[in-house]
Point group: C2
Chain length 259, copies 2
């Protein structure tokens, strides 16, 4: 029996209301979001060694670095000034306003904050940015997400961002668990996540309202649910690859980072 | 130490000769081809149970089914009738000439032969073709290959097919090992591989000669070597995902096939 089998949420002849659709989206998260993955539990329980945490941060950098590309592709397809302004905030969040943190009261963005995490973990900045040591499976999953957003209908592209509905919980668990359990991590290196605690809900509120309003036919609603499922798979596959390479069976692919 | 670290084959100011380039390509295969993956050894040694062999065949179907798409995208970019004719044979190999095997002396192609393998293993034909139970990591790797061929320069797209240089050996090991070790496999269900033993060398001869002739500058040669490395990663990542889900740690992702 597959305990992860999805219920049938939508019937072909009777659409859900907006609340029913939101409920179905939240149910997918409850079943498939990567907070359920064993690697996440090991990470926040302090059960990983420094090399394993390095591998996680290194690989997750690839995901972070591609997010503005994904958002630019999506923004290019938005039909109005207002929607593009709304979506542009995501790119500002990741790419920042200027070079130096705090310079002119500015902000150097989420990607730079992620690099402070990898640097704080002892990884060379250029090695991380070159992404030569990341797992091929990480890159394939991340690129699948970018292609999905570029190629699927706009409604599905927007819906694929809805994993952010569930991210405040995983971020809270991650930060408190990592601070409590790893002496090689401090609040400064985890600064990335503090920002996300306010950014993610703002972004997911917008995307959820958009989806509630625009996914009205059953086929649109099914497509939206499939988009969120796809995105959960993108996140899950990244933890699968980390777990396989660096926890069990510990099979590091050719060329990937060796802690 | 990373035992898989690649040597530096090409220097920026001195190109390799065609033989030197071929030697470097073969060296990459010797270091990175998935014949080295533990899952392959388990498969041909008879160490897998039927459910694990099913999972392999099911997931590998996704790869087989995308090959003609990849080849059509490549063929669309070939500049001459002769080159397109040459490449078209690959699509004929996979898609066949007509519906029934042997009908009008015809051939129904490699994808149908793969479906005879999955059916012989007890999997429902429609379930396999719908690809609903495959591992997300399989799909991400396969789609990365399709996108690579669509987006990279033609020379690199052609070079990415060169894993076929190494496939006769893995196919021989697979067929003899599977026939000897699994009572749920017979020569009929493995018919796919017999064809490939003649098709793959014909195809790889063409691609190798093309690359030997057209990759003359150091940057082209490096790009060709990187393309083969990428393709080895595509194959390796598929076995990594199978191993992780169905061997160790046995972590089957949400929604994937449960033997």
């Amino acid at each position: 029996m597959n305990t992860f089998e999805l219920p049938q949420y939508v019937s072909a002849d009777r659409p859900l209301g907006p609340d029913g659709l939101e409920e179905a989206l939240r149910d997918i998260g409850a079943r498939r979001y990567h907070i359920l993955h064993p690697f996440h539990r090991l990470l926040h329980d302090g059960a990983l060694n420094k090399g394993q945490v390095q591998a996680w941060a290194l690989n997750r950098y690839c995901y972070q670095a591609h997010i503005p590309k994904k958002d630019a592709l999506l923004m290019a397809r938005l039909p109005s000034v207002g929607l593009r302004r709304e979506w542009r905030r995501r790119i500002v969040d990741h790419d920042g306003e200027d070079e130096g943190e705090g310079a002119r009261g500015g902000d150097d963005g989420g990607i730079e904050r992620w690099l402070r995490l990898t640097t704080g973990l002892g990884l060379d900045r250029d090695y991380v940015r070159d992404m030569v040591g990341i797992l091929p499976a990480t890159r394939f999953a991340v690129e699948a997400y970018v292609h999905f957003v570029a190629e699927k209908p706009l409604l599905e592209a927007i819906a694929s961002s809805l994993t952010e509905l569930f991210s405040p919980k995983i971020i809270s668990e991650r930060v408190s668990g990592m601070l409590a359990n790893y002496d090689f991590v401090d609040a400064e290196t985890l600064a990335y996540f503090n920002k996300r605690l306010t950014q993610a809900p703002r972004d997911s509120d917008f995307a959820l309202n958009y989806v509630r309003e625009h996914a009205v036919r059953p086929d649109q609603q099914q497509a939206v649910l499939d988009a969120l499922t796809f995105k959960c798979n993108v996140l899950w596959a990244q933890l699968d690859a980390l777990h396989s390479a660096y926890v069990a069976p510990g099979l590091i692919p050719p060329g990937a980072y060796q802690p």
